[in-house]
């Protein structure tokens, strides 16, 4: 257990730097919450830039008494304040600082008192405080701090309790502020405040938060909402961002060049690097101006109108059933798409998609029930894992090959319930036997068959069945074996190394041997395998 009951100046400094880092690591989450007044999504960035202005000030400090530290924080925040939330933050800490000037060490009551003063100062600087913002979160947190500071002398427990309060208040912000409820988010500035407290707590626990590192305590991530207003008449739709390395001019110069080119302009930097963020209707001009100062890097241009439209779409289109399939080969991709698969993850025998890839596809699909066709024995496991990692209802149809996947798709009926489809699809693949024709990559013995590099091999249901020198011969032998236990439909999917004529010739030969069977030929485009053959 950590037994910190008083903090000195250098601890306070460490706490603050931790808070700035925590905030910056979660900047994008906070940005995604911004809805008010102009839904630009920069609260996190603004708060972070404000905090770092104070961090710079702190790093310049020679003495680390409490008074010096709080003064540096207050000054740094004041100078660096950006955006509404940044200004509020600077006021909070300005009040915080005034009470602590003459302290050498802080106990919890002193901390609570300073926080209260901070809140009072922050409230003074506005005529009509808006509740449901960072102001509310800070106020209720300070109240809680006052309640518990006499009883709780250990800082880790104290901070834990007030952090909890701040999170609880944050959750209530949508009830207090209509725009938040409308957008379905919590207040962005308030969230930033929570991260700051989290940074404090981690510092007391002795954990150092480094920039862009993993966070120890994960806060629930809100759903990103771009915007609550109609953006069809957006004047500056292209959000343009880039970095200029070793610029030959100043940020100020560039800022002037951007006058009238757009809004939400942010040009910051020093002699080594300039960062540009601007919403414009002329992204080309913006880049041109940047190029005059030097090399551009990390260029990002996004059409916010489009982002907005896709947000709307995601709200509307939530299908009942969706299907994701792991597929290799362009022909197979077309086939699966034609059969109604919603999303395709490229992959297969030689390239198994990760659980993460599958989770991403699941999360990205706007459907309530999602079927996954792994189409490979090795992928089934990742698909099952992915199903456990997401909140959506996931059905993994254990298809071991792409032909099985095709059969499952043929059994799918979008009008029926998810459960019915699941059992139908599973039943459909039981009747499918899969053969594969490929070549040996090295000399080896497998399933009792000795192979030399370059030998053509036939694989029946995952086991090596035969080998030979001629692709057609091996394929014919293989199909005969697969069809032995019954089967009247044979489907041949030919790979990227085989021509259509070759495949049709094989089908003709097969037809001669098995006149009772129906034979279909499709282009699969799969690598490595000459033929994938299904018999059902």
């Amino acid at each position: 257990m950590n037994k910190t009951i008083s903090i000195d100046g250098s601890t306070l400094k460490r706490m603050f730097i931790n808070a700035a880092n925590t905030l910056d690591n979660n900047r994008e989450i906070i940005d995604s919450l911004n809805v008010f007044p102009v839904p630009d999504g920069d609260t996190g960035t603004n708060m972070s830039l404000t905090m770092f202005s104070a961090v710079q000030e702190l790093q310049r400090l020679k003495k680390e008494e409490v008074g010096d530290v709080v003064e540096a924080i207050a000054n740094g925040l004041l100078m660096g304040a950006r955006g509404n939330s940044g200004v509020i933050l600077s006021q909070l800490f300005r009040g915080f600082a005034t009470k602590l000037k003459n302290y050498r060490e802080l106990d919890t009551p002193a901390f609570a008192m300073a926080l209260t003063e901070g809140v009072e100062t922050a409230y003074k600087a506005v005529m009509k405080p808006t509740e449901g913002t960072i102001l509310t979160v800070a106020r209720e947190t300070a109240q809680k701090a006052n309640e518990v500071c006499e009883k709780v002398s250990q800082f880790d427990e104290f901070l834990e309790q007030i952090l909890k309060q701040s999170m609880a208040t944050l959750e209530k912000t949508p009830q207090m502020l209509k725009v938040l409820a409308k957008a379905g988010v919590v207040d962005a500035g308030g969230k930033g405040f929570v991260y700051i407290l989290l940074g404090f707590l981690n510092a007391i626990r002795g954990e150092e938060i480094v920039l862009n590192g993993e966070n120890t305590l994960k806060l629930p991530v809100e759903e990103a909402v771009e915007d609550i207003d109609d953006h069809s008449d957006m004047q500056f739709p292209y959000c343009t961002e880039f970095i200029i390395k070793n610029p030959t001019g100043s940020a100020q110069q560039l800022r002037e060049a951007y006058q009238g080119l757009g809004d939400c302009t942010l040009v910051v930097g020093d002699e080594r690097v300039i960062k540009v963020h601007i919403h414009t209707d002329k992204p080309g001009r913006v880049l041109e101006e940047g190029l005059k100062l030097g090399e551009l890097s990390r260029i990002k241009i996004e059409n916010m109108k489009e982002q907005h439209r896709s947000t709307i779409e995601s709200e509307i289109e939530q299908k009942e059933l969706g299907i994701i399939s792991v597929v290799m080969g362009d022909g197979f991709m077309d086939l699966f798409r034609d059969l109604g698969v919603d999303a395709i993850i490229p992959g297969g025998q030689t390239m198994n998609p990760s659980t993460q890839d599958i989770v991403k596809a699941v999360e990205g699909l706007r459907a309530k029930n999602i079927f996954i066709l792994p189409n490979n024995g090795n992928v089934i496991l990742s698909a099952n894992q992915a199903g456990e990692l997401t909140d959506k209802k996931v059905f993994v149809v254990p298809t071991k090959s792409m032909p099985q996947g095709i059969s499952a798709m043929l059994a799918f009926n979008s009008m029926r319930s998810a459960d019915d489809n699941y059992s139908d699809m599973k039943k459909a693949i039981e009747n499918v036997k899969t053969g594969q024709v490929t070549y040996a990559v090295r000399d080896s013995v497998f399933d009792g068959i000795e192979m030399q590099e370059g030998d053509i091999i036939g694989i029946a249901e995952g086991k090596i069945y035969n080998k030979g020198e001629d692709v057609d011969e091996v394929a014919l032998e293989l199909v005969s074996a697969l069809a032995e236990g019954g089967g009247d439909v044979i489907t041949i999917f030919y790979g990227d190394q085989v021509s259509k004529e070759q495949a049709e010739a094989l089908a003709d030969k097969l037809g001669a041997i098995m006149p009772d069977c129906e034979i279909e030929v499709h282009y699969g485009g799969q690598p490595v395998y000459y033929y994938l053959i299904s018999v059902e």
């Binding site: 950006r82 955006g83 200004v87 600077s90 009509k128």
Partner: protein
């Protein structure tokens, strides 16, 4: 000044005091601003306007068919004035444009005082 919006069925007239009220009300929600000052007051002599007279610190006029808004404000000591003013400009432009449907060309913020 009266702003006029025409459509096929008739015209909408927005009087200056209406626009000034909209501006005044949206400005007082801005963080860092603690009051409005009368636009005509002599330099160095600033009185805080009461809530009901907020619009006295606002001037609205047209330029090339777009609105131009002049604000006369008092801010809290210890806030970063440039950031506060920038926020006010954003907020006022947004509120006026969404509520009236008219385009705001400029918002000029005149800081007439700081409150200690």
């Amino acid at each position: 000044m009266t702003a006029r919006i025409d459509n096929a069925l008739g015209s909408i007239f927005l009087y200056e005091n209406v626009l000034a009220d909209i501006v005044g009300i949206s400005t007082i929600e801005c963080y860092g601003l603690v009051g409005m000052a009368p636009k005509g007051s002599a330099d160095g002599l600033v009185e805080l306007l009461k809530r009901e007279h907020l619009s006295k610190g606002v001037k609205v006029y047209m330029e090339e068919g777009k609105l131009v808004i002049d604000l006369y404000i008092v801010v809290e000591f210890g806030t970063k004035i440039s950031a506060v003013a920038q926020n006010i400009i954003d907020k006022v432009k947004y509120s006026v444009e969404t509520m009236t449907g008219m385009e705001v060309k400029k918002v000029n913020v005149n800081v007439k005082g700081v409150r200690v």
